[in-house]
């Protein structure tokens, strides 16, 4: 086991501890979120160093291979979680996002990886490709967190419908959670749009010419884009909010996750991920 992998495992363990601590706090409705913050932040630092070492080893950022991209996505989700925690004092979000992070990290660790570029990727110009992947990784991370906020919304709504008082005085309101979920979706959507444009440009400039459009993963990514576009149109233009909007967020992320996990595995094409 090399140093970067050891740090990766340490990050995975600390994230698991963080997820557990956030959950204990959320379920028992007791105690502060500081231990969970500390475990998560330490995990993130270990993860950052692991990514840094890997970057030095490879000579480029480690998100070109699928396993690396997935790991970077976990890193983005943790970064966003911590940023939201500190800015909005919304520690309930960690109870939802950290288990996803642990799953994603586990997936990243079990997926096969090799050093360097795969042949098809090596043939493409580097910068647009890196930006394409970087934008999509961050977009999917934001969608994951938006999904978590949507779940939190439904849970808070259920509590209010069942006439249960909030467990913590500083628990976020429905309006705050909804606004956060939509902001994350909008942020993810902008990056997804950028990522798709860069992907198309890269494909045109590269060896694929016109074949790129009919790759299953490209089609489902467009479906994800469409879902979020409809959601943001409903919210921005029609002014729709509330539970239905939250359902769109859930479905949007399910399509995004399916794109990453199943479509890629079921229909392996020229597009490597």
């Amino acid at each position: 086991m090399n140093v970067s992998h050891a740090l990766f495992i340490a990050a995975l363990l600390l994230y698991t501890a963080g997820a557990g601590l956030y959950h204990v706090r959320f379920l028992t409705r007791n105690g502060g979120a500081v231990p969970a913050h500390i475990a998560t932040a330490l995990g993130w630092i270990a993860h950052t160093i692991a990514i840094g070492i890997r970057t030095l080893e490879l000579g480029h950022a480690p998100y070109v291979q699928f396993s690396e991209a997935v790991s970077t996505m976990a890193w983005v989700i943790v970064l966003l979680t911590l940023a939201i925690e500190f800015r909005k004092r919304m520690s309930a979000l960690g109870a939802f996002s950290m288990p996803i992070v642990v799953l994603v990290m586990f997936l990243a660790d079990t997926l096969p990886s090799s050093n360097g570029y795969s042949p098809i990727l090596a043939g493409l110009s580097d910068n647009p490709l890196k930006s394409h992947i970087g934008a999509l990784v961050t977009a999917f991370g934001a969608f994951a967190l938006s999904f978590c906020a949507a779940l939190l919304y439904l849970l808070q709504e259920r509590r209010l419908k069942r006439k249960q008082m909030p467990s913590h005085a500083n628990e976020p309101s429905l309006a705050e959670v909804e606004s956060l979920a939509l902001s994350l979706a909008a942020f993810g959507f902008s990056l997804l749009s950028l990522g798709l444009v860069l992907g198309v440009v890269t494909a045109w400039q590269g060896a694929w010419k016109g074949q790129w459009l009919f790759q299953p993963i490209v089609l489902t990514t467009f479906a994800t884009w469409l879902m979020y576009a409809v959601l943001l149109f409903r919210r921005g233009v029609l002014g729709k909010r509330g539970r239905q909007t939250v359902y769109y967020l859930l479905v949007g992320f399910v399509i995004a996750a399916a794109t990453l996990l199943f479509v890629r595995a079921a229909f392996p094409g020229q597009h490597k991920f």
Binding site: L160, K163, M165, E171, S173, L174, G242
Partner: protein
């Protein structure tokens, strides 16, 4: 010592007799300092209690009771209670923690304890013991509020409604209320919501005059009763409290209102009996319905929750009380050590005089050395009790040791002043 009365012992008619305004309170504090033997005094005055605290050498607690009878009349007499020594500390800490309040866990009393200490300092001497006692009480109260959940949850219908509104809308600034009917609880609830930022109120009532009067109170707008279904979709919070014998908001009416709001939540607070809003309205998406029973049940749960925290609260009170008593116990050593130092100096001087003739053969330098040595021995002896007090955390041990010192060296107890804080000269002497 302390004496006073509160909602536990006296009805409001009696409590009123000892309720003082700000200026009157200053007079009472000054008067309390004139109680024979009272070196320091403070008066704690809240809506539900009036208590006089003193430090000094009052021999009999009945003096304090008489003081209160003088100001409140003989009627207050059977309702008074009094505490001495450690009982005073624990009582005040309990009061500051909200554990003795009419509404368990209320936080307002903490500010009132702080005010009482400030007034005592403004109107009296530096009063170190009382000030420290009250400051420790505030620390204790703060700890209780942060480390336990005694202050958690709303304990009135209106504040529960505010909490719920915050859970739904977050910041209430800019939110609007539609008040249908003009019941007293509805008015209180609207008032609480306005205090928390709700900025626009529309009142609909069968009697337009009453609606106008209420609307004027809140700076809102009055409309005819028939207009309210139209207005439902425009308000974030709808409070109903009509005397109608049947429901006035059907599922269909509520659905139309919710549709007009395009998913923005609508919070119905139904305070009427019989109910104004059909119960199934609460099942609609983005609609939250709470009736009077729901709110009262939540208040009850909050109170029970607060009650279950009392063990944890008492543990903190005990810990803080011990800390204060330790400080007090250590403080008592100052006058004793003053006396002890004087006694040792007296012995040293006497022995020096006795040996003067024998020391005549010594040179001036040698005499100075011997004298320095005797002084150093004295300092060394004095440092031992200081170390004992510093290292010992048991107040009864400290008190017993001080008492032994007084007995063994025939110190004059009459000259001991427990309120002195001038530790440094003795400590320096003790070296």
């Amino acid at each position: 010592m302390m004496a006073g009365l509160s909602h536990h012992t006296a009805p409001v008619a009696v409590r009123e007799r000892l309720a003082f305004g700000p200026e009157q309170l200053r007079v009472i504090v000054r008067a309390a300092r004139q109680i024979p033997g009272a070196v320091e005094a403070a008066v704690l005055s809240t809506c539900n209690r009036t208590e006089v605290y003193t430090a000094g050498r009052i021999r009999d607690i009945s003096v304090l009771k008489s003081f209160l009878e003088e100001h409140g009349g003989l009627e207050v007499s059977p309702h008074l209670y009094a505490r001495e020594g450690s009982g005073v500390v624990r009582h005040l800490f309990r009061v500051a923690s909200g554990a003795d309040s009419m509404v368990l866990g209320e936080g307002q009393v903490l500010g009132q304890v702080r005010d009482a200490a400030r007034l005592a300092v403004e109107e009296g001497s530096p009063c170190p013991t009382i000030r420290r006692l009250f400051e420790s009480a505030v620390v204790c109260g703060r700890r209780v509020r942060t480390e336990t959940e005694i202050g958690r949850g709303a304990v009135s219908v209106s504040h529960t409604a505010v909490e719920l509104a915050r859970q739904i809308f977050g910041n209430l600034k800019g939110r609007s209320i539609l008040l249908v009917g003009a019941g007293e609880t509805a008015e209180l609830t609207a008032k609480a919501l306005v205090q928390h930022g709700v900025s626009f109120i529309v009142v609909a009532n069968r009697t337009l005059e009453r609606a106008e009067m209420l609307a004027e109170t809140f700076g809102g707008k009055a409309v005819g009763y028939d207009e309210f279904p139209e207005r439902l979709g425009t308000a974030d919070i709808v409070i109903t409290s009509t005397a109608a014998p049947h429901t006035i908001v059907s599922v269909e009416t509520a659905r139309k209102a919710a549709d007009r709001r395009r998913g923005r939540p609508i919070f119905f607070i139904d305070l009427a009996l019989p109910r104004d809003v059909e119960p199934s309205v609460g099942d609609l998406d983005n609609v939250f319905l709470y009736n009077l029973d729901d709110l009262q049940e939540m208040v009850q749960r909050s109170l029970e929750g607060r009650g279950s925290e009392l063990d944890a609260v008492n543990a903190i009170i005990e810990e803080q009380a011990r800390e204060f008593e330790l400080w007090l116990g250590r403080l008592e050593i100052v006058p004793v050590m003053s006396e002890f130092q004087a006694r040792l100096e007296q012995i040293r001087q006497r022995e020096w005089s006795r040996s003067e003739r024998k020391l005549a053969a010594l040179t001036t330098a040698q005499r100075e050395t011997v004298e320095r040595m005797t002084r150093a021995m004295m300092k060394r002896i004095l440092s031992e009790p200081w170390s004992f007090v510093r290292e010992n955390e048991d107040t009864s041990d400290i008190a017993a040791a001080l008492s032994s010192l007084v007995d063994m060296f025939h110190l004059d107890p009459a000259s001991l002043d427990s309120t002195s804080t001038d530790e440094s000269p003795i400590e320096e002497a003790a070296g």
